[in-house]
């Protein structure tokens, strides 16, 4: 009890240091609690939401025009079950819709009828209009919960799909719980009426089938690549590009990826604060023991055993650690509703299930135990001071060693010289400070780099796509010469540049489970956003450049040969470059146009990539092109029932022409329709563009939210780390002043001003801060590379000037904090010291 009283006295005496350690342990526990409580919750939230929806765990969708009944049989054999449900659905990629704010964004959608929905899941309605109102709706639509949680749509509001410059407006009947097809990365499922489903089937299937046969089943799912191979064999054609696979695992990985990244960031911050807390404890215990050496000697002389005295210190840190842990846990629990809403928004799912307080308690216990064990190890040093040694203030404090940096050889000013002497005389403690600065500095620099990357939105993320995304891609009608379109487009004032290319391109890489999306350019000097990480872009038809992830996972290096496969054809290519591309998870391959035609002998350029002129936006460019070309073949493929009989005849004729052009390879059509004495004539010359696509919408839906979230998170992390560094330096400096109080008093007596001594204390830390910041920079650059490589399969952008500026600011910040923290020197009175 007496020992405990001594601990409480120490706590009261060193309030500032105690508060610092308490703050660090609190932050550590808070971070770890958030991770421990929510790591499981993220999994369970996804699982519970999925379970609530009653959704099957897998769906393989194959385009109806490619689908064969054998495919279902093959799947049954693969899975060893006949419990596979079959239903139809429509898939549309990068489809524009209006947000509730009137902005246009793009998503991948899957459209189903209620009948299909009920085959797939239990169609659990979460929020809806009254049934009688729904019954009166002309175009009702049911949206997934994510659209209400994240995107802000509400029942009763309108939901407008834009397709080929036409608007298809629906009224939101309600919101339902969704299992599969509820993520930005894959698609969102919308439930339509039978009539609207038919309309969309026509709209999206006008030129090629958008409707698929969905095979729904539970369980772990098949080896998808092997299944496709069997289907290809059965069909004697490659159906890989007409099939999609949706699964619980893919969906979960996609939706939880960023939450997981944030959890890792929390762990990183927890490590920083824990290291800082442990270092502060070590520093403070050493200081306390040195400071109270005489008291220790007296207590020992009075009969206290060294371990009893150690306990006085130990209790101090046990109490501090426990208080910090409990506070951290309480804050973590108070933050639970907020964290739940973040999880809800980031998953786009309602959070069900237990809160997982156990994880928080575990985190608090862990922190308390680590603090106690560390303090125990350090406080045991009391036994090194028997009474006689302690009463002599510890023989270890006496100096017998070599005089490092003798003042007679001093070149710098005296404050710098004494600071360096102080640093050299305390190298052991400097090591601990260095570790703290390295961890905190690395976390700070990593946060700064991430913040800088996202500060202007998704622009830099888009650059990592390693393809030209700021373009409008015109897919031309079969038989139309894209070079001709390119020349015509180039005459528009809104156009800066135009390149011919391919609208779609997929090949397989022999021996690889991942097929490859092809990017092809005649000359890569024309590409504006493709920069190899290693090597160079392909120049000849037997050269290829691969994405970084493929390079790493398949051990493909410069100079290696890889074999590309397409429709039974195999061709060898030499790897000339590796590029940090995020596109398709880094599995993309880059070929020259000639190189692509080697492996796809039927491939002919069928697209024009149009680059807008300076100051021209993509919507403005699209409007100009539509005006110039009078719409696309897709626009014409959907007939409207309104208009005069001549209009209807012309539209019907255009519809037929567009189908002939696209699906039958017809290159030119002339028609004449005789009605009485009137002849209505026309031709296919106005049909040149099949469809127009851009990346703008998908960038807004998939990349901008990531950029915004990361920006906010990294900004908060920077502030937190700055506070941690400030607290750490404040404690170190305060402790230093306390330990050197005697010497500092003498120096004051000799005529050193408080400012001189504050300068010395701050300068004494500078060598270790400089070394720490240097090491932190190396660590942060490495961490940044690893992070971007693992998370996005791409190369991190290293902004060297920013890093250097941050380093300098960090060093200045440390100096200023140390200098100001040393301000308690002012309170040291020379006369008090002398009259002690």
């Amino acid at each position: 009890m007496k020992i405990l009283r001594l601990s409480l006295f120490n706590l009261k005496k060193n309030k500032r240091e105690v508060m610092g350690i308490l703050f660090m342990t609190m932050i550590t526990t808070l971070m770890l609690s958030i991770v421990f409580i929510n790591e499981k919750k993220i999994d369970s939230a996804f699982y519970e939401s999925f379970k609530e929806s009653g959704c099957v765990e897998n769906c393989i969708a194959i385009k109806t025009d490619k689908y064969r009944n054998e495919f279902k049989r093959i799947l049954e054999e693969e899975l060893g079950t006949d419990d596979i449900t079959e239903a139809r659905l429509i898939e549309s990629t990068l489809t524009d819709v209006y947000t509730p704010d009137g902005d246009i964004v793009a998503y991948n959608f899957v459209y189903v009828t209620e009948k299909t929905e009920r085959k797939m899941e239990s169609f659990k309605k979460l929020d809806q209009l009254p049934e009688e109102e729904i019954a009166e709706l002309e175009h009702p639509i049911w949206i997934p919960a994510a659209f209400q949680i994240v995107k802000g749509y509400e029942p009763g509001g309108s939901f407008t799909v834009l397709k080929n410059a036409k608007e298809y407006s629906f009224t939101i009947a309600g919101v339902y719980e969704t299992g599969l097809m509820s993520s930005d990365g894959y698609s969102y499922k919308l439930v339509l009426s039978e009539e609207d489903y038919e309309l969309f089937r026509m709209i999206f299937s006008s030129l090629s089938s958008a409707e698929s046969v969905g095979l729904f089943f539970d369980g772990p799912g098949p080896d998808y690549e092997a299944y496709l191979e069997k289907c290809n064999e059965a069909a004697s054609e490659n159906i890989s590009y007409s099939a999609s696979y949706y699964s619980y695992g893919y969906e979960k990985d996609n939706e939880t990826m960023f939450l997981e990244i944030f959890m890792y960031m929390f762990i990183l911050l927890a490590v920083v604060t824990m290291v800082a807390a442990l270092f502060m404890i070590r520093h403070k215990i050493s200081g306390d023991i040195e400071d109270q050496m005489i008291n220790i000697g007296v207590l020992e002389a009075l009969g206290y055993r060294s371990h009893e005295i150690s306990l006085a210190y130990l209790y101090e840190y046990m109490i501090t650690g426990l208080a910090g842990s409990v506070l951290g846990l309480i804050i973590a629990l108070l933050l639970t509703p907020f964290v739940n809403s973040v999880i809800r928004v980031m998953l786009g799912r309602n959070v069900y299930g237990a809160e997982g307080i156990g994880g928080g308690i575990l985190a608090a216990l862990m922190v308390s135990v680590v603090v106690t064990l560390f303090a125990l190890l350090k406080t045991r040093t009391v036994k090194d001071y028997p009474p006689v040694v302690a009463l002599r203030k510890g023989i270890k404090t006496h100096h017998f060693g070599r005089n490092l940096l003798p003042l007679e050889k001093l070149g710098a000013d005296i404050n710098t010289g004494l600071a360096l002497k102080g640093f050299m005389g305390n190298l052991k403690a400097s090591f601990g400070i260095c570790i703290c600065i390295v961890t905190a500095g690395a976390a700070m620099l990593f946060s700064v780099m991430s913040f800088d990357f996202f500060k202007d939105g998704a622009g830099n993320l888009v650059k990592m796509m390693q393809r030209d995304t700021d373009t409008l891609d015109l897919c031309v009608v079969s038989g139309v010469d894209p070079e001709m379109i390119k020349d015509e487009v180039l005459r528009l004032p809104q156009v800066r540049k135009a390149l011919c290319g391919y609208s779609h391109g997929n090949v397989s890489v022999k021996g690889s489970p991942d097929s490859a999306l092809v990017n092809a350019y005649a000359d890569y000097n024309d590409a504006e956003n493709i920069t190899p990480y290693k090597g160079r872009c392909p120049q000849y038809d037997n050269e290829v450049m691969v994405g970084m992830r493929r390079s790493r996972t398949e051990n493909i290096n410069l100079g290696d040969s890889i074999i590309l496969e397409n429709n039974g054809l195999e061709k060898s290519y030499i790897v000339t470059g590796i590029v940090g591309s995020m596109e398709n998870g880094g599995t993309v391959v880059y070929l020259t146009t000639k190189g692509y035609e080697r492996i796809n002998i039927n491939a002919r350029p069928d697209a024009v990539h149009v680059y807008p002129a300076e100051g021209v936006g993509i919507p403005e460019l699209e409007a100009a092109i539509r005006e110039h070309f009078g719409g696309t073949a897709e626009d014409a493929a959907v007939t409207a029932s309104s208009g005069s009989s001549e209009d209807r005849i012309r539209k019907a004729a255009k519809e037929k022409i567009s189908v002939l052009l696209d699906q039958y390879g017809v290159t030119s059509v002339d028609y004449a329709v005789q009605i009485g004495d009137r002849t209505i004539t026309g031709n296919s010359r106005s049909f040149v563009i099949k469809e127009i696509n851009s990346y703008e919408g998908i960038i807004k839906t998939q990349m901008v939210p990531i950029a915004e979230m990361t920006k906010i998170f990294t900004l908060l992390a920077m502030i937190l780390i700055a506070v941690i560094v400030a607290v750490l330096l404040m404690i170190i400096t305060a402790n230093d002043v306390r330990r050197q109080r005697h010497s500092l008093g003498i120096m004051k007596g000799l005529g050193y001003s408080s400012k001189d001594l504050m300068t010395q204390i701050a300068l004494k830390l500078m060598p270790v801060i400089l070394a720490g910041v240097l090491l932190a920079t190396v660590a942060a650059v490495y961490l940044n590379r690893v992070f971007w490589g693992l998370a996005f399969a791409t190369i991190a952008v290293t902004n060297v000037p920013l890093i250097l500026i941050t380093d300098v600011l960090l060093i200045i910040f440390c100096y200023v904090v140390a200098f100001l923290s040393a301000g308690r020197i002012k309170k040291i009175s020379v006369t008090e010291l002398m009259t002690e």
Binding site: N403, E408, S743, G745, G751, S753, S754
Partner: protein, 253 residues
């Protein structure tokens, strides 16, 4: 007549003790002359050390003036006082107060380099002064814990005079030394004084006071006696002692 180097007017210094003001120095007027070796004596608690700290700019008075030449220093901030001290005052402490993590030479240079730039001449001067006090070349490399009390105080004196202060203050410099060491230290003070150094010293010791040219007696925060020692020859120690003893007896010492 020697000129005045330090002067006080109505100097007051009090301390708060449990809410009660204790007036230690009360309206004290004093003048220290250039080249004098002034000793301040008095019983314990009479305010000797408090007066010394106020005179040397180590502490600020509550009221009154401290004039160093024509410069009033009582209104200086702590940092201004530090700058004042480094340029004008040397201080020898009873507890010596060497910096225990620095060698003998570095202790002296620490005081010197805050005022002067480093130069071979400065280092030579420091070494020379240290050697004049009887320390060896080897001693200069030692740390304070490797020195005897007398040796340490010699370092303390050299440290105090290295910047050629206008006035040297000493607070019972022999208080912690044995008589042999004390004598050596006092010899150094005498030598320094002979070289023209003004000294103000607080002491309880009669032998120390005998070295002075002037003895002030302090009681209840005021100077109650001011005795100028007669200038005798080397052989007149007895007479000097008799005169001083008489003065002190008169003061009730």
């Amino acid at each position: 007549m020697a000129s005045s180097i330090l002067r006080t007017e109505k100097l007051c210094k009090s301390f708060s003790n449990g809410g009660v003001q204790q007036h230690v120095i009360k309206n004290l007027d004093l003048e220290i002359l250039q080249g004098d070796f002034t000793v301040i004596m008095g019983s314990s608690g009479s305010g000797k050390s408090t007066l010394l700290y106020a005179l040397s700019g180590m502490d600020k008075p509550n009221m009154g003036k401290v004039l160093f030449g024509d410069t009033e220093i009582q209104g200086y901030s702590n940092d201004e006082l530090a700058v004042f001290r480094r340029g004008n005052c040397g201080f020898v402490f009873q507890s010596i107060y060497l910096l225990d993590n620095q060698t003998v030479l570095d202790n002296v240079l620490t005081a010197a380099l805050i005022v002067q730039k480093n130069s071979p001449e400065l280092v030579d001067k420091a070494k020379s002064l240290l050697k004049k006090t009887g320390l060896t070349e080897e001693d200069l490399k030692k740390y304070p814990n490797q020195l005897s009390g007398g040796e340490a105080q010699r370092v303390g004196i050299v440290r105090a005079i290295i910047n050629d202060p206008k006035i040297l203050f000493a607070d019972e410099p022999t208080g912690q030394l044995n008589s042999a060491s004390g004598k050596d230290v006092l010899d150094i003070f005498s030598q320094v004084h002979k070289n023209g150094q003004s000294i103000v010293m607080v002491t309880h010791d009669l032998k120390t006071a005998l070295r002075a040219t002037r003895v002030l007696y302090l009681r209840d925060g005021g100077i109650v006696g001011d005795y100028r020692m007669p200038v005798f020859g080397e052989d007149d120690e007895k007479e000097r002692r008799a005169g001083l003893t008489a003065f002190l007896e008169e003061m009730g010492w």
